[in-house]
């Protein structure tokens, strides 16, 4: 008994410690998903570069819910307008962007309404 007592006390101390540890780990674990969510809070994203009067990549394939950003790197303004008008940017001057979240699957052909030879395609899966 005598031997056991300190052992028991020790054991109790240990188990309290482990409880504390376990609790902190749990708290940390609980916090983790939240932290991950805040990093990737928005939907997945993709970018199309507007440069030299063309869209790169010319065809972009994304999962539904992806947020797509077009960025104009030219010294001349451009627009991004889908043929079926399901998305339409304002005029983008140099370095301005337009963002569109593709929610509905399908193939969207789009063009620059100022320079209609500039065309691109967005495939939403």
């Amino acid at each position: 008994m005598y031997i056991h007592k300190p052992y028991k006390e020790e054991a109790m101390k240990k188990s309290r410690w482990s409880l504390y540890l376990a609790a902190s780990v749990l708290v940390a674990l609980a916090a983790l998903p939240a932290a991950q969510e805040s990093v990737a809070a928005g939907p997945p994203s993709a970018e199309v570069k507007i440069d030299n009067f063309s869209f790169t990549p010319p065809t972009l394939t994304v999962k539904a819910g992806t947020q797509i950003t077009w960025r104009n790197a030219d010294d001349i303004p451009h627009t991004v307008v889908s043929d079926d008008q399901s998305f339409k940017s304002k005029v983008l001057d140099t370095d301005e962007t337009f963002t569109f979240t593709a929610s509905k699957p399908g193939t969207y052909s789009y063009f620059c309404s100022i320079h209609p030879k500039m065309t691109g395609k967005l495939v939403v899966e």
Binding site: P77, D83, V91, F111, S113, I114, H115, P116, K117, T119
Partner: protein
Amino acid sequence: MLQKNQDSILFDHNRDGIDRRGFLKCMAWAGTGALCVLEGGVLKSYGLDDPAPTAKAAPSELCFVQISDSHMGFNKPANADVAATLKAAVAKINALSVPPEFILHTGDISHLSKAEEFDNVSQILQSASVKDVFFVPGEHDVLEDDGKQYRERYGKNTKGAGWYSFDKKGVHLIALVNVMNLKAGGMGSLGAEQLEWLEDDVRHLSKSTPVVVFAHMPLWNIYPEWGWGTDDSAQALSYLKRFGSVTVLNGHIHQTMQKVEGNVTFHTAASTAFPQPHPGAAPSPGPMKVPAEQLRSLLGVTDVNYIRKRHALALIDSTLE
């Protein structure tokens, strides 16, 4: 440099001594503007600094000036001060020995269709000795609002998107709009309604009436890869076939080019703001950055001179230098 692919003035229909070499010399001035003289249906081009054609101007002649693509508001490295170069163009016009009767501005007045950009151009043009200015819109003038502001400012007494015609000294001038409702993959567009109006507009004219057509985008296919043309221009030109003398003046491509096709002379004017590359000479038609001391040699004004007796219209391109 600009003239490398120049396929114009290979013909000397009038045997008037305007050979290709001489013409190319004129083209080297490309930049500020051009003086146009149409002779026997063939348009000739002289530098604004060349006194020869203007010195001969008679009362029956019609002289006017074309400027284009002032892009007010543009401030990128290709030209950080487009107001200064427009002012230089106006100074050039004011210095002409024979004052032109009016100015044609073939579009892209503004860079981003902003009210202050249009205001700035109006203010600069007020210092021109000639007060009448006729406009057509470029695609940069009709951004965001389908040209509503453009028509409020310049569209009085015009039809549709801003097209109209008028007569000066026996010459019939037609302003066309080819920058609206552009279709994906296409070029400039006139549209059915405007084509119908055009057919009706020229119906009553005698075939000896000299006709001048002006629009922003080229009405001939200069370089479809860059959209430098107008999808339905052939139909417009078909209505003008019966006329002995047709001159087509455009802007948009920020360089002078000329072509003669039968009775039709095509001419594009230089920009007053910044040059663009020769067709296919760069990855894209974006603004061309040239050494500062060269810039004004690539900007310009076009002076047009119609000599009634000789049934001739001469075009003179001159630079801002």
